[in-house]
Subunit: 601 residues, 2 copies
Amino acid sequence: MPRYNAPVRDTKFVIDEILELEKFGNLSAFANASSDIVAAVLEEGGKFTSEVLFPLNRVGDEQGCTRHEDGSVTTPEGFKEAFQQFREAGWGTLTAPEEFGGQELPHVVGFAMEEFMSSANQAFGMYPGLTNGAVAAILAKGSQEQKETFVPKMISGEWTGTMNLTEPHCGTDLGLIRTKAVPQNDGSYAITGTKIFISSGEHDMSENIIHLVLAKTPDAPDSTKGISLFIVPKFVLDDDQNPGERNAVMCGSIEEKMGIHGNSTCVMNYDGATGYLVGEENKGLAAMFIMMNAARLGVGIQGLSQAEVAYQNAVDYAGDRRQGRALTGPADPNEPADTLFVHPDVRRMLMDGKAFTEGFRAFCLWGALQQDLSHGAASEEERQAADDLISLLTPVIKGYGTDKGYDIATNMQQVYGGHGYIEEWGMSQYVRDARIAQIYEGTNGVQAMDLCGRKLAQNGGRAVQAFFQVVDDECAAAKDVAGLETLAGQVEKANGELKAATMWFMQNAMANPNDLGAGAHHYMHIMGIVAVGMMWLKSARIAQSELDAGGGDKAFYEAKLVTARYYGDRFTQDAGSLRRKIETGSDTMMELPPEAFQTAA
Amino acid sequence: MPRYNAPVRDTKFVIDEILELEKFGNLSAFANASSDIVAAVLEEGGKFTSEVLFPLNRVGDEQGCTRHEDGSVTTPEGFKEAFQQFREAGWGTLTAPEEFGGQELPHVVGFAMEEFMSSANQAFGMYPGLTNGAVAAILAKGSQEQKETFVPKMISGEWTGTMNLTEPHCGTDLGLIRTKAVPQNDGSYAITGTKIFISSGEHDMSENIIHLVLAKTPDAPDSTKGISLFIVPKFVLDDDQNPGERNAVMCGSIEEKMGIHGNSTCVMNYDGATGYLVGEENKGLAAMFIMMNAARLGVGIQGLSQAEVAYQNAVDYAGDRRQGRALTGPADPNEPADTLFVHPDVRRMLMDGKAFTEGFRAFCLWGALQQDLSHGAASEEERQAADDLISLLTPVIKGYGTDKGYDIATNMQQVYGGHGYIEEWGMSQYVRDARIAQIYEGTNGVQAMDLCGRKLAQNGGRAVQAFFQVVDDECAAAKDVAGLETLAGQVEKANGELKAATMWFMQNAMANPNDLGAGAHHYMHIMGIVAVGMMWLKSARIAQSELDAGGGDKAFYEAKLVTARYYGDRFTQDAGSLRRKIETGSDTMMELPPEAFQTAA
């Protein structure tokens, strides 16, 4: 039977030993995150996700959501009750400000919980996940009244949130938006238009749904500079701020998707619905990017999450299934066959899974720490440095994390052989669910262009130079540890490929911007390889020092060392070939006319 | 709307210009394959698959197959009628011997048709596809009476065939088989056991189903040396050789799968069913390998086929969808946005699709020619040389082709952005259908071990040395053509990586066989990269010579040249990093005990 065991031990390793979160206890942003509180959150979060959410994962996939004739939507059996438990435990309040009823824990802790939730049930996790994005936008750009009205109920889970960007004819290119917002005499706006792909757009789990909607006022510029952001509640609030009259926003249909069936992906029709401007007119894009950046990190974690749950199940299967014999002679001569664990190609897939999930988890949480520090560090200089890093790396976490997450989930399915293809065994769902993360919140091609077209050049390349330095420092530190020289050299070499690719962009992209576009996706992958490599260096240094100190949990630290070396052997090598591809430029890629792609009969 | 256009023009290019099939007209195996006959088959095949089979592809996915209480199975709406048309047109007889009513065309032609059929409707194509495998086994190992009884009706499509290998506890490791075959007084055997994952196991499209079943006689050795092969008809033949009494073999259930829903994947229960020995007792494994090798090439083509149909649709979408602007300035300033074609990252995915599908098609058909020559060449020496090559490359066609086919199908889905994830657009199905090909007929890990553990070392490495030479010769020839020097150098370099990896295996695998297993999958990929690179060199040489001659179809040949160069730029680079991964050996891969893979809470 499929199972999920939240990786609490490994998460604690990252938070306590790599990030040393307690060190930041003197900063107010980290004041609530004492080691015992964090441990309690992780342990309770692990239980809740493993015991409550995971058993509903298959149910959600099989049943999906149902839209009724009146436009209402029913979620899969058990989702509503599970959300009630989520609410009661206050899981939605983890990182929200105390001012609005939150626990004000750092994002590092919130992200760890997001991983557990998404591994256990990605479709379920998206209901509070989208709410988080909506809350972030209101906190950043809403009026004090809007914050007080909406945030407490949204973080408590009484109400949920959505993000309404995409329309049938425009996704990435938001300048093409057609949804209209016409000012009314009472200061509100009448919103009219069709939004598609609205995750959690309509459902039966909360008392109200707060839609955040991008729309254009009548005389707005016809570009991204003419987009405004509106709050459109499913039920307009009455004078006591309780859900009152039904607003003119309806779910027109539910999409049939490849995966995440448990989440209702809706076409939302706005027919003169009452909306309230968030921030200023025509400044919606900036607010949208706040939602987006929060969401992109969450999506990167989804890549990790599906790799993790698929990995855990593949490990179980490899231990149970007996087939063939070890190449080096029978491992279990008294059994009719050896377990799959003896076969190098199965090991390759499992070690890939282990090296990616542990390394990428460390990278994500380190990124979350940068996010926390970008707001909460002591000096402006430190805040800026942290902001530089997380801004640079957000598209890498999203793009590289979800590409690799999908690959790993696919390979974990491969471990099962034929059984992997049968829905009953659960592996197909992890792959199908993982697939969406490469697409939404900006396809991975969009992430790559965000990284290479925007982030690299900002402030004269300050962020990427800082990243090179962080990696170089880590390589230098690791080289001083006996036994880590090879790994340090491998990561240093990969960082060298990244520097060379950066230089190549500088020398070529000005003359031909397509050279940048042609290499962006590969560049994003090199940066992912390097960033995770840096985290493996940190992990290995700590593991070696723990082993030298002769403390407990020897097997855990030994496994860290071996897995770190495996990462160096098998992951860093790709940086070179990716760099060489980048350096071939865009000529052969862009040369053919579109007609040449047509297949002739 | 999804569409499929059989790539007849490109297939003709491969058959007429690269393989020069007419050149072999003096050999009896090729006697029926005149250029006009081949052209007619491809054109009619293109029409049949595009017009009859493709419109049923989504239907099959949505409806799946239905098992009724009596164990009978209904295929999706329209499948039965389409199969009737398949029969009437004689598509099942293409490559079968004239002696049994076949058209005795070379496999090159049969393979081309297999690609079209599988692109149009993979689930449908599996019904005749499995029949082909069963026919191949009967032709190779059956008695003359068995051939006369079964082959004509199977190739005509009156009857279909299946392959019954897997059991619940054993897939790859066939030595563990438990199905029993007890000799009866009349010379037949009573077959009892359970087989799973039986494609086309039960359905309503033919008058009889001829199951080929692996089983063990009572005193057979307890290993792969104790396996025998049996014919078990769904209806036992009466004295007139017509389907008579219902045999004791029933479909117990249908599997719910990730894809290929239109094919009935059955659990088959044998309860003392009447079976007839094929060949000798305990020699079933050899017969099974005949079925397998035919099937493996067909599965490799499935990888190509899903990449192709997904590519065609992605090209259409990229031409229709307008989003954003070219990095070099608006391409269509009068439109609100440019088409997706202007974006380098979309181009990257489309060019990857074009370079893989065209190059791999050429490789598959070149492989099919080797298969034809292995039987039909004039001298024993030539037959042996061709057999060496196709034996070596069969696991590469299957393993590399399906890995890349899945990747390409996934990237073609990515071109669609959010719409790619919605079932209605059809892209999800191509990915889900493509996924099985990496798993069945021996997982790709098994293919890699077949290549590295068996094929490489056979006859002192004769086959792989011959392959190196074929590639080197091609590189040398291409270097003499102005404009192809770079590409020739890139393929030569990749071939050098392959040689180096081969040498590394020779030096290390004897001492530690796990070093071979740890590198096998990557080695298979390098060989795929080199083989397809060789085909691009051939294509480019011909294209250049056609352009030099100033004949027609200039755009076609120019596109070949550009795509060949793109292949060199973007595909050959991976060979180096794969070789470096191989050379890191198996130490870090095999070091950890299975417990170390468990996730601790």
